[in-house]
């Protein structure tokens, strides 16, 4: 369960929100000239990092406003929340706590926050 700090309403439970997937995906310009492969990339392919991720949320059961967040998908820690018209923070301004490329300890679950 994640507590999300809605920039308009304050901290609320995650179940009040809906996730809108990766943030800052721009519709390609001149899409009528795009080939199938590039169009497929835009429609179906999204980043899926284990680590720091830009994403969109909407406060569906609250103010119903959209906003962006930076979250570490390996710990579910929300690192930054910012409004749609604000500039996205640089990803390298956050420290990635993953120890191996795939982010897993040698044996067992990758559940860092619980194991700590």
């Amino acid at each position: 369960m994640i507590l999300i700090n809605c920039p308009y309403c304050g901290p609320r439970d995650q179940s009040e929100f809906s996730n809108g997937g990766q943030a800052h995906v721009a519709r390609p310009e001149n899409s009528e000239n795009l080939n199938d492969k590039d169009w497929g990339q835009y429609v179906f392919y999204r980043d899926n990092p284990k680590g720091i991720f830009y994403e969109r949320w909407v406060h569906s059961h609250g103010c119903r406003k959209w906003f962006n967040a930076v979250r570490n998908t390996s710990t579910d820690e929300i690192l930054k929340i910012y409004k749609l018209d604000e500039k996205p923070p640089k990803l390298d301004s956050f420290t990635n706590t993953l120890k191996t490329p795939s982010g897993e300890p040698k044996v067992g679950s990758g559940n860092f926050t619980v194991k700590k």
């Binding site: 997937g21 199938d36 497929g40 999204r46 579910d76 191996t100 067992g108």
Partner: protein, 416 residues
């Protein structure tokens, strides 16, 4: 050659306190190079190695696994097996798998505890009825044994179900008698044992860290036990497939999400089939130990935490208690989460990639267990021949640019 498992072996080993059972597989150190490296020692990965050795004569294979074999999603699922998918492509793939399941205990001489107790999908509204009847018709045209059950027939099969006194009454069900459950550890261990017997190296506690490529061709895998060279690399890493693919410069249309399940305290037999409901999101079966095995939905956001939100469990348990008032006071013993990789069309990817010698079997999302032997069988064919088997040819990566999607959101039965 390993000794056969039989009733006589059971009796004999009982006399020696079960201390002299044979070792099922060796745990070798990795060699410098292999013909094929399979990344991921779950059912799909071990099965791939088994069929590569058995049907394609490739013996110089390593299966590398981060933890212990079967310790990933193979050990986390709710063990449901069925093939009642809408589209021809999926029906052929999943039914290929059921046909293999039916013989697997004998073939591997290892008890899969495969129990064809039937799988029921409940309809709760007019739309469900129409959608399910359409699916049943499609299934029957594909030779699958799905049938429509009226409410009173459901009540006969599952007397404990509350069908009328609830918010969304039960109006009927699609039923596949050949569906059922199996023991999930057994498929990993059975495949591992027989693959090991044919010379496959099963390397546990060996994490694949990155895939090395050179000029569009795969070179090997960097692991926690050093670099291992390989002519071909087959990635079957479930939720972490996109992380590994990225190290080879391949982007896949996958999103990784937590999926949860839970089991109750064991009770006497009360439900002898698998009952799933898409609309209220409740699915339940009873294990041979007597525990109720309950599957919840996925969380609505990407995560690799191997947990999930409590509200997701609450939602499914709420529906279960309404459908089966008898379960109202039961205690849940365990709850867990695993990371599943979901494709935009809720169908898997069993495909070659743009890198020569690099193959992917992923995107099984919330329903990969049922397909384990079928998926492994066609994936082995794809890896050995460098071209897909006719069953998995439609499950390629190109479908995300040419638009031939296999949309199975309706038949996937788990909310995502």
């Amino acid at each position: 050659m390993k000794k056969k498992y039989s009733i006589f072996a059971l009796i004999k080993n009982a006399f020696s306190n079960n201390e002299n059972w044979q070792k099922m597989w060796k745990s070798p150190e990795p060699k410098k190079s292999y013909d094929v490296i399979v990344i991921g020692g779950g059912g799909h990965g071990l099965g791939t190695a088994y069929y590569l050795a058995k049907e394609h004569g490739i013996k110089n294979i390593a299966v590398i696994e981060k933890g212990w074999i079967g310790s990933g999603n193979t050990g986390r699922n709710t063990t449901i097996i069925r093939s009642n998918y809408l589209w021809n492509e999926s029906a052929f793939l999943y039914d290929h798998s059921i046909k293999l399941w039916e013989n697997l205990s004998q073939e591997l001489n290892y008890n899969m505890m495969f129990s064809q107790r039937g799988v029921m999908n409940l309809a709760h509204n007019e739309h469900d009825i129409k959608e399910m009847k359409r699916r049943i018709s499609a299934n029957r045209l594909n030779g699958l044994d799905t049938q429509w059950l009226e409410t009173k027939e459901i009540k006969k099969l599952v007397p404990i179900m509350n069908t009328d006194n609830l918010r969304y009454p039960v109006l009927g069900a699609a039923f596949q008698p050949r569906g059922g459950v199996a023991r999930h550890d057994a498929i990993a261990w059975g495949f591992a044992m027989r693959a090991d017997e044919m010379g496959v190296d099963i390397i546990q506690n060996c994490e694949a860290q990155s895939i090395k490529t050179k000029r569009g061709k795969v070179e090997g895998v960097k692991t926690s036990k050093g670099f291992i060279r390989a002519k071909k690399v087959a990635v079957v890493a479930s939720g972490h497939t996109s992380v590994l693919a990225k190290t080879a410069g391949v982007k896949l249309p996958l999103q990784s999400r937590p999926l949860q399940a839970l089991v109750s305290e064991p009770i006497k037999p009360v439900i002898n089939t698998v009952v799933m409901s898409n609309a209220v999101h409740a699915y339940v079966s009873q294990s041979d130990k007597g525990e109720l095995v309950i599957g919840a939905g996925t969380d609505g956001y990407n995560s690799f935490t191997q947990r999930g939100g409590y509200d997701v469990i609450e939602e499914t348990v709420r529906a279960i208690v309404e459908l089966y008032p008898i379960f109202g006071k039961m205690k849940m013993l365990r709850q867990w989460g695993g990371i599943v990789d979901i494709c935009p069309d809720a169908s898997p990817i069993i495909s070659k990639s743009e890198v020569e010698g690099l193959y992917f079997n992923c995107g099984w999302g919330t329903g990969g267990f049922k397909a384990t032997p079928g998926s492994a069988n066609v994936f082995a064919h794809t890896v050995a021949k460098d071209e897909p088997h006719k069953i998995n040819a439609p499950f390629n990566l190109e479908r995300f640019s040419d638009g031939r999607l296999i949309d199975e959101h309706g038949a996937a039965a788990v909310a995502h």
